[in-house]
Each structure stands twice: as C-alpha cells, then as structure tokens.
Symmetry: C2
Subunit: 357 residues, 2 copies
C-alpha cells in the first residue's frame, strides 16, 4: 500500500528528521522526590529525532554520586524538573550518530562526556546539541572518563582557587578516603604539595591509612589520634598548612582547624557527618582563620566551559600516566537497584558505584 | 654642703637627664593575672628621667575596654609582661614636657594619644618616645579622644576591609548596642550604607531600638523577632546584605547569617556570648558564604601608623561634627575599683567606663 500523502510542511519535516533518529533508549527516571531505591524506575523511551546539530551518544558508563542521590531526594538546590526526571549528571558515552550540520570533529565511536555535566546520564542513548559534548581520550578505563568531572575536578580546583600553594607547602583535609580526598592527595603530590589527612576511626583504619600512604599521603591520622591539645606537635618536619578541605563537618572540621596556620583557610565542600561546622570566636580574631565554601557548580557556567575541558583533559592524562586513581565498582545497568543500595550505604562501605550500560 | 664630686661620665649623664624628669605618677598595676578588681592595685611610681626625644604626658582619660580586662585576666594573646604590668591600652593626655631633641611639633598643653595604642595608659604621667604620640584636636570631649582607636577604628576598618560597599548597599550586624555597633551604624550612614541591626532580648529593648534608630539604624530586630524561617521577608525595601559583623557568636551569629546574600561575608570581631559560631555546611557550599575575622592588632603595625592616624583624625572630625557619638561614663581615677566592677558587669548594664585622671 502506498503511504498516505502528507501535507507539504510535514513532508519537509520528515525529510529533515526521519533519516536520523536515536535507537530506543532505556532510562532510569523518577516522577517524585524520595528514596532513590524507591522512586527510580526503568522505562523505555521511543526513538528521538536528531536535530541538524545534535549528536546521539550511546552511554557507556555513569556513576552514582552523592549529589545524584540528593537530587532524587529533592534536597539538592539544582535539579531537573518533575515529573519524568532522568537520574545522573556525569558519564561517558560513544558517539552513535551525528546530525548533518554538526561542526565539531566528532565521529561515531569517539568517546564523549557531557561537559559541563548535564542532567539525565542514566540512560542508554542521549541526543543533545553538539556543544554539550566534549571528546575525551579513550585509552583510559571508561569508569575514569565517566567520573572525571564531579570529583577529580573538585580536587583540582580546590587546590588552585583559594590559596597560592608552592612546592613544599602542606594542606590538611578530612574525609581523606573519599574520592575527592584521594584525588587531593595525588594531585597535591604531582605539584609537590604535602598532605595531612584525617580519617574517621573504624575497623580497618590501618588498612585505610596504608592505602592513602600508597597514594602519596604524607601523614594520615584518625580522629581519635587527634584528641589532644597540641596537634601541631604531630606535624614533624611538615609546615603548618595554610589550606584545609572539609567534607565532613562536626568534630572532623574542628580537628582540621586545629592544624591550620595563622591566616589559614578552611574550604568546606561537603558535610558527610550531617553536623555543622563549629568555630570558636578566637580562631577568627586571633588566628585570622577564613572559612570558605566550594561548589563545582560555578565551574559549570558557560564562560568556564573551555577551562573545564582543558582541566578534564589534564586529569585524564594523569589517569593515563597512572598518577591518578581511585577505587570504583562497575555494575551492570540492569542491576541499578543494587548499585543504588550500595551507593546509599545499605551494604556497608563500598567503592564508588559506576553503572555500565 | 657642697655636692660630692661625681666621676666625669656621671656628670655628663646628669647634665643630660637631670633637668627633665616626670612628676611622680600614680599607676594601676598588677603582678599576676586574675580578676581585675582583685589583682589591680594603685601604686606610686617615682619620677622618670626624659630621654632627648621623650615626651612626658599627663594623662587626662583612659577607658576600660574588654580587651583590657582580658589582658589582666591573662586570656588576651598580646599583653604586657608580668610582674609590674600597668593596665590600659588607649587614652588621651596632655603634653607636660618634651625632651630637648624632640622634633615633632608637640607643645605643653597639646592633646596626644598613643598611636598605635600601647600598654599602660592607666597612670597619671607617661614618658615615652615622641614617635608614640599623635597630636589630636582638643575641641572634642576628652572621653572621645580617649576611646577613638579601639572601637571607632574597628568599625571604620570593618566597613572597608572586606567587601566593597556602595551607597544604598546594606550590612547586618549583631551586638548592635555595643560601641563598635553604634559606630558601625553612624559610619555606615555617613557613607550611605543601610544597616540591619540585631540586639538581644531584654527589658527595655524598645528603648534600645529607639536609641539605635536615632543614631541612624534602618532596621533593628531583637533575636526573638528573628526566630522564623524567612528572615529576609523582613528586609522590606532594603537590599540583602553582602556583609555582616558578628561580635556575639552562638544564636546571634546564626541569625545574622540568615540575612546574608549569596556570596556574602560574615566578619567576627568579638564573642560576647562566649558561644562559638556554628554554620550549616550548606551555607558554605550553596550560599557561598565566607567567614572572616577582624583584629585591630594588624592595624597597629608600624607600616600602618600613618594610615591609622589619618583615620583617627577623620573619626574625631566626625565626633566634632556631631556625626559620631556613643554613651560613656567618666569616673574619677580614684574610684577605679567601682569603674572596674561596672566594666565587669557587676552593676548591671552600664555605659563604657572612662577613668578621668
């Protein structure tokens, strides 16, 4: 049977789009905020037509970051609108098809990441304007390309944005076993910066200390080891740090502050303990301590895109050289509920969960 | 009887010094740290010879500042050595005599202040190098000349050192009834800056609110009035403040933080509640709030002397014009124990105590 005649406008539209559509995609979406393992569901999305400058990407891998969890819970200030929000914010994929007017040098098979990251990486195929995608090297493990922005870039920026550090200087951080913490240790080492690391007391802390020292940590203390008046006596030959990174809050932030030198700065980028930061007045007045905050979001503005991409290439270069590594677990997309449970801490301490599509 | 012959060296020394000695002085000194009304005692000090470039000053008035109390208690980081420490740090006096080689244009009768302030203003006569003394105008009440450095200069610097403010901008402060707080209100007004003021709940708070409004305060709230979710709804036509001054800590600091705009700065310069500053992690990360400290001490360095003196002249000019005022009580030096008790809060709320010599 001959196809029915279409009106002329639709004929044009059809010529323009029908040749290029994405494959059907599998997505993880949520229609309301709540516990991620309750509200997220897998769904099939029909093929999407590609605009002239769109690129269709087959996703390879995407992590579950704490901020992804917070977005689904509805407690993160920047999040996609409901209903029909797709989870995920960063990840890596492979170019599947490009629109006819795409000017970026992107070919099918190239690895690309959304840069700046954007909502909805937890799906098998994504169609977005070419400007969204940044081509990255494909000779690193895909889980690193999938996770290079949110954590390693945070570590890199925090080392550069607050205090001018010179080789031989020291920094102090808590939550040192976190991925940002591990990146801080390794990036600092690359630049000759010494690190003083605070971790929480737990079974197996000896093992954690050894792991961090293998990454290049100069000193690692558990919180209970710092339950003393003069923590600076523990510094040995290390200089007093002018900069500290806090992702825990509560007691761990107070311990960090005790290490800072006169005029030092503590940067807060997380609050894992869910406790606030508490500071005696004398630290501000007599020690001239500054407290700042870091949010990667400001590096996601359009005027920072080129800088961010340059830094991402640098970071993946370090990964390739073996100078930047952290533990991750690749888990099949189909087992997303298990991955979420692990990311939520329901199976004890687990490495970063990265879904593989 | 003829005087005994002196060896030649002593004869020279005698010629040099014997002609100029200070009158005997009455001082308030302490030999150990402790409660000021316990450890301070009045003592007579014999005449002191003037060096060639020394100036002998008869003190007119000197205040009792909280930092003076803390020095005597031994809890202030910068304090005079024991035993034999003389109390006080700022004050005004009258030139009594100048050494023969003094080059500064100082004549007997001129009003001078130690600038930067220096230890030991609680005495009737002080002999110090001419470089210590800054001549000030004598057409203002002496209690203002005596107190111009520690409090008004703090207010002036805090308005300038942290955030660039333009006419129409707003700042927020707690402890607004303190002398620094009152100076902030008036200096801000001179520069077209609006002020949001937080005071503690107490009997007579209506009167305190009216007093501050008469000084030029745009808004005055008691802490309990701010016990609500959206304090910014109280701003009315005032812009969100980019800068806040905290001299209280605890809840009063938390209330102040709620007013600050995205990217705002809170400067801590005191801790009257003796409670620490407690900040939720989200303020640092998502509101990009910075916490800093101010200590006037850094304006006391030798490289800042000229700047400080220029600012002091400016401040006393404002006093003369009636644009800067605050409540003080002049109390005779002989009643120093009563003055200390009042300064220590043992007689209820009292104005700033200034001893008159």
């Amino acid at each position: 049977m001959a196809p029915p005649l279409l009106p002329p406008t639709l004929q044009i539209l059809r010529r323009r789009f029908s040749s290029l559509v994405s494959p059907p995609s599998k997505v993880l979406l949520y229609d309301e905020h709540g516990a991620p393992d309750q509200v997220l569901r897998a769904a099939d999305v029909p093929p999407v037509p590609l605009g002239d400058r769109d690129v269709c990407v087959r996703m390879l891998a995407a992590p579950i970051n704490p901020s992804d969890i917070n977005r689904i819970e509805g407690v993160y200030p920047v999040r996609p609108p409901l209903p029909g929000a797709v989870g995920g914010y960063e990840g890596v994929g492979q170019v599947h098809a490009v629109g006819p007017a795409v000017t970026a040098p992107l070919c099918p098979g190239d690895w690309v990441i959304p840069s700046p990251p954007s909502f909805g990486t937890w799906q098998t195929y994504i169609v977005k304007h070419e400007s969204v995608w940044h081509k990255v090297r494909n000779d690193v493990p895909m889980e690193y390309a999938a996770t290079v922005t949110v954590n390693p870039l945070t570590a890199l920026r925090m080392l550069q944005d607050f205090v001018k550090l010179n080789p031989g200087d020291a920094i102090v951080q808590n939550g040192a076993t976190s991925i940002v913490g591990q990146c801080v240790i390794q990036l600092a080492k690359v630049h000759g910066i010494r690190t003083i690391n605070i971790i929480r007391d737990r079974r197996g802390s000896e093992e954690a200390i050894n792991k961090l020292k293998q990454l290049g940590a100069d000193e690692v203390f558990t919180e209970s080891q710092l339950d003393m008046k003069n923590v600076k006596s523990l510094l040995g030959a290390l200089p007093e740090p002018a900069l500290g990174f806090n992702c825990v809050g509560g007691n761990a932030a107070s311990l960090l502050l005790k290490f800072l030198r006169q005029g030092g700065t503590m940067v807060t980028y997380g609050g894992m303990s869910k406790r606030p930061v508490t500071v005696p007045t004398s630290y501000f007045i007599f020690k001239d301590i500054s407290l700042r905050g870091f949010w990667l979001q400001k590096w996601m503005n359009s005027d920072k895109v080129e800088d961010s991409r340059t830094m991402i290439d640098y970071l993946l270069g370090l990964v390739h050289e073996g100078k930047l590594k952290y533990e991750m677990e690749l888990i099949p997309f189909s087992e997303f509920i298990l991955a979420l449970e692990k990311a939520l801490g329901k199976h004890g301490s687990q490495p970063k969960q990265v879904m593989r599509f």
